[in-house]
């Protein structure tokens, strides 16, 4: 019988996931002269949320914010109260706000363009209002940011291990000892022994039926299947916020365009939201009190008494983003911004291929599939050093729980911070730990290699998406979630997955993690006995209950038991 081959590596710090958080960690750890391996499921040059670009980063820009009379404390408070609705890791939010601009200046040193002649703001920065009540979101040339950061990580000495999907953690006496992963192209088991580990695998995607019917044409990167969170949970790490979820994830056009060009998201000069009758639902000027003089904020009502959803409900859908007006400068600016945003260059190319033109056509937008979004911020609970509850294990960026809408600045800064913490920890560990943890995945792969025929991973994925959509979206309740858990347990015990090659076996391993994440989510849904809009709506507990549930709800495995714990943020 064919047995899986193994390959071993050793390092001081192993960074898992080469998104912005992982690259930032590898760059900083390299600077600190640590022996670093950065493992990525694909290729960090174009992997993760930011793989094909990002167009904005929020932060505290001292020169501009001081002119506005906004202090760092004001921004932190604004983020925690208005963006995160009170539930956020205050120390980390503060760290992000305080250091984001420093990390942006690092990006400039590595070669990213952040300054523009036409800007009349200090430093020639293009700064927009986005999430906060001040002009603190940098619009910049971020299309190739991942290539730039990967290069910087290599220059600083990090070894990049591409096309390895980490599946489990190695532990020695309850301390971290490394990770194990599956080679998505070479089909080998890669065992990486290290003194500390930084997890940065992003969000759990592909859990819900996609609205366009195409399992991989979703808004979030489909390569990300909650592998980090599932691996950590199996190893005894405490996860929080797993029940939180945005329904819909966003409004998009066939998931081919993100914020770019749409009213809201990253703001575009000429973006207007219309209903099917051509009535303006979201005026371009809605965020301003005195038309361009004073900013009201993007979370304010549109001022027309209508929302996109209310128009659909009233029978006046669909909704369109109309970007046809505006000066040539406005149009140019918008196209530039769209081209920097993830998937945006591809969208402009597709518009050209299919004869679409912003001046001539409006773009239809739809509410898309649910997401464990930036707002949900699910993942391991971390302290102010990005440490998890396992010694030597850190989490950063979208992987970490409790920092809503930390997005790119969160990934940049937490990656940096986690590298500093991991570097300190590694110094204290004398010998290289020789932990275990690869047995389960080795057995899983060997069974697939030995199996002739069997169930396809596609069918299993559809099973999961049906369960998560039917039992965890519209009719969320204890009894529905309980039934959902039974379904996933049935799938786990019944499926006999087949995989003909490493590409397919990778998908089988993703199924293992999607089931794990699905069950965690359903269990937390049952445990949190309230609704907490917009991220949790239960039929059996329709009201928010701040007295009992203003908390992060932690879930962790101890032996065969699962325990819950409430944490005050």
């Amino acid at each position: 019988m064919a047995k899986i081959e193994k390959e071993e590596y050793t390092c001081n710090i192993c960074v898992v996931g080469g998104g912005i958080a992982g690259c930032s960690a590898a760059i900083r750890a390299g600077e600190l002269n640590d022996n670093v391996i950065l493992v990525d499921k694909s290729n960090p040059e174009r992997s993760g949320c930011a793989g094909s670009g990002i167009d904005h980063i929020w932060g505290y820009f001292p020169e501009v914010q001081k002119q506005e009379g906004v202090s760092l404390d004001d921004l932190v408070e604004d983020h925690i109260q208005n963006v995160a609705r009170g539930l956020a890791n205050r120390e980390i939010v503060r760290y992000i706000a305080e250091t984001s601009f420093q990390r942006i200046l690092d990006l400039e040193r590595y070669g990213a363009r952040i300054r523009y002649e036409d800007s009349t703001l200090p430093g020639k920065l293009r700064l927009q209002y986005q999430l906060h009540k001040c002009r603190n979101t940098l619009h910049f040339d971020g299309r190739d940011i991942k290539r730039i950061m990967t290069k910087a990580a290599k220059r600083n000495g990090a070894k990049i291990l591409s096309r390895v999907m980490v599946t489990d953690l190695l532990l020695e006496n309850g301390q971290i000892a490394g990770v194990v992963g599956y080679g998505t192209r070479d089909g080998k088991l890669h065992i990486i022994r290290s003194r500390s580990v930084i997890m940065a695998c992003g969000r759990p995607n592909r859990l819900y039926k996609p609205y366009n019917g195409m399992p991989f044409a979703i808004r979030m990167p489909p390569a990300l299947t909650g592998d980090g969170k599932a691996a950590m949970f199996r190893a005894g790490v405490e996860l929080i916020n797993m029940e939180f979820l945005s329904i819909p994830g966003r409004w998009s056009s066939k998931n081919l365009i993100r914020g770019g060009g749409l009213p809201r998201g990253s703001f575009q000069p000429p973006g207007i939201g219309l209903n099917a009758l051509g009535e303006v639902i979201r005026p371009r000027t809605h965020e301003f009190e005195d038309y361009g003089e004073k900013w009201r904020g993007c979370f304010t009502p549109f001022g027309t008494g209508k929302t996109f959803q209310s128009e659909l409900d009233a029978g006046r859908g669909p909704i369109y983003a109309d970007m046809s007006w505006g000066s040539e400068e406005d149009q140019e600016y918008m196209k530039w911004a769209v081209s920097q945003e993830g998937l945006g260059t591809a969208f402009l190319h597709l518009m050209e291929e299919y004869g679409l033109d912003f001046r001539k056509h409006k773009i239809e937008i739809w509410p898309i599939e649910p997401e464990h979004s930036a707002f949900a911020a699910c993942g391991p609970i971390v302290d102010s050093h990005c440490s998890t509850n396992i010694a030597g294990l850190y989490a950063a960026g979208d992987e970490a729980g409790g920092t809503p809408q930390s997005v790119v600045p969160g990934a940049l800064t937490m990656g940096y911070l986690a590298a500093e913490s991991a570097s300190e920890h590694s110094k204290k560990i004398a010998g290289l730990p020789m932990g275990k943890g690869e047995e389960e995945v080795e057995e899983f792969c060997n069974q697939i290699l030995a199996r002739k025929g069997g169930d396809s991973w596609e069918d299993a994925q559809q099973f999961i998406q049906n369960v998560m959509t039917d039992y965890n979206i519209e009719y969320r309740s204890e009894t529905m979630a309980q039934r959902g858990i039974e379904y996933l347990e049935y799938l786990k015990n019944t499926m006999q997955l087949k995989g003909e090659n490493p590409h397919e076996i990778t998908h089988c391993l993703e199924i293992r993690n999607l089931i794990e994440c699905g069950q965690i989510i359903l269990r937390s849904t049952i445990e949190r006995k309230e609704s907490r809009p917009p991220c949790l709506k239960r039929k059996d507990y329709p009201h928010q209950d701040d007295n009992n549930w203003f908390c992060f709800l932690g879930q962790k495995k101890i032996g065969d038991n699962i325990v819950f714990e409430k944490h005050k943020p």
Partner: protein, 98 residues
Amino acid sequence: MPPVIDKNLCNACGICWDVCPQDVFTFENRKEPPEIGYPKECWYCGACYMDCPKEAIRLKLPLQLHIVPSPALYGPPKRGEEENLRKAAAFTRSVIKE
């Protein structure tokens, strides 16, 4: 087939295969253009299109992802609206004192 390779332009450098986050391409024979092994797994991220040094890649949408054209309705700003819109747009472009 989401990415379409023009075999006359492609030099078989393998960059598209190297960067694709979804491993849509297969590149067994390193001398011929890559094949589109897993077309249904494309994310339409455009990495292959952007990074191909020969501009040999175009993206093609399956029918169910077509964006059916719809004429712009808003047109030029209505009278009295123009100045406010212009200000709001310039404000967004970080051009404040014009």
